[in-house]
Subunit: 194 residues, 2 copies
């Protein structure tokens, strides 16, 4: 494969991260070798180390980037009635989970492979995201529009339920994206008594 091809740093960097994200998600961080990632991109192993200090940094970068994108993408609208805000969150979380399935999967499966510093940073970002949902639930209770016995527990339960859509939903199957949204919105509204 003598694919010597000169410099193209702007393209190789993202390609490496795309390949790593896909391979890590599919086989697990520990099961993927730097050689595999290089082969997927079409470069030699040594080249990877021009873009990342080591394998651990590559993983940490992927998770940090994912969580930051997630937080930046979510735009709450506090002026809406709480049940409508909740519907928007449900749709947002389902769409993100399906459209960035690899990143979502990595962000809760490969935490254990982070160094303590990286681990603390990523779980902090995740906590921020959970709080975005919890704020909606708190507002719903305050407005008398929801019945929730424990907002923290309910937050964790709902996020697990929504993220779980990646375990079974396949595009092109029985349900389209709109039907999916509608069904999950109904389940969530029922769970919180909205």
């Amino acid at each position: 494969m003598g694919r010597t091809q000169g410099s193209r740093a702007e393209v190789t960097g993202p390609l490496i991260r795309d390949a790593a994200r896909r391979l890590f998600a599919r086989h697990g961080y520990a099961a993927v070798s730097m050689r595999q990632i290089a082969a997927e991109v079409g470069v030699q192993v040594g080249t990877l180390y021009a873009y990342t200090a080591d394998k651990q940094a590559l993983l940490a970068d992927l998770l940090r980037e994912h969580m930051q994108d997630l937080l930046a993408s979510w735009q709450d609208d506090p002026d809406l009635p709480p049940p409508a805000r909740l519907d928007r969150f449900v749709r947002f979380h389902i769409d993100t989970s399906l459209d960035h399935a690899d990143g979502v999967f990595l962000s809760y499966m490969e935490l254990r492979n982070l160094t303590p510093d990286n681990h603390a940073e990523i779980t902090g970002l995740r906590r921020d995201y959970e709080n975005a949902l919890q704020h909606i639930l708190d507002a719903g209770v305050a407005a008398g529009a929801m019945r929730i016995a424990d907002a923290r527990l309910t937050t964790m339960a709902l996020i697990a339920m929504l993220t779980g859509v990646t375990n079974w939903y396949r595009a092109g199957g029985r349900l389209d994206r709109d039907a999916l949204h509608a069904h999950y919105c109904a389940l969530v509204r029922g769970a919180v008594g909205a």
Copy 2:
């Protein structure tokens, strides 16, 4: 560590599986070496191969055993009203998820590391378990005791929600097991309109 100690097959076999289950769950199948497992048990590497054909068979055995235990432990009572059956399932699933957290975690995380044959077998068992919940939901709808738009989707959503308890619940914290059961039963009943 010259721990030569003669034969004791009856104890070593289970010890190997306990160690493997714990290590696989904590670090991931690919990240755990046979040497680590041996060290945890207190034997030499070669000894492991008197109990398992290879690392893959060790994983497959753990998952099969877990799913079979799960299916054998669940005893439905079709004579109860559907909402009461559902409550029993919720308690059962939460208790199992917390009491056998390593097995539960492995059974949905390490499927990807199974050979195709083993994979098909384990997912078949898992499907049986999902159907146990779905039967309750179907009965609830038939009896007019639940409002469910899509029983399959609801089954998957509820199982994800319940299993997610392992992500955040810690014994000795704010909530005891009874409170946990009560909160999740309320969420589930709300979701299915019971």
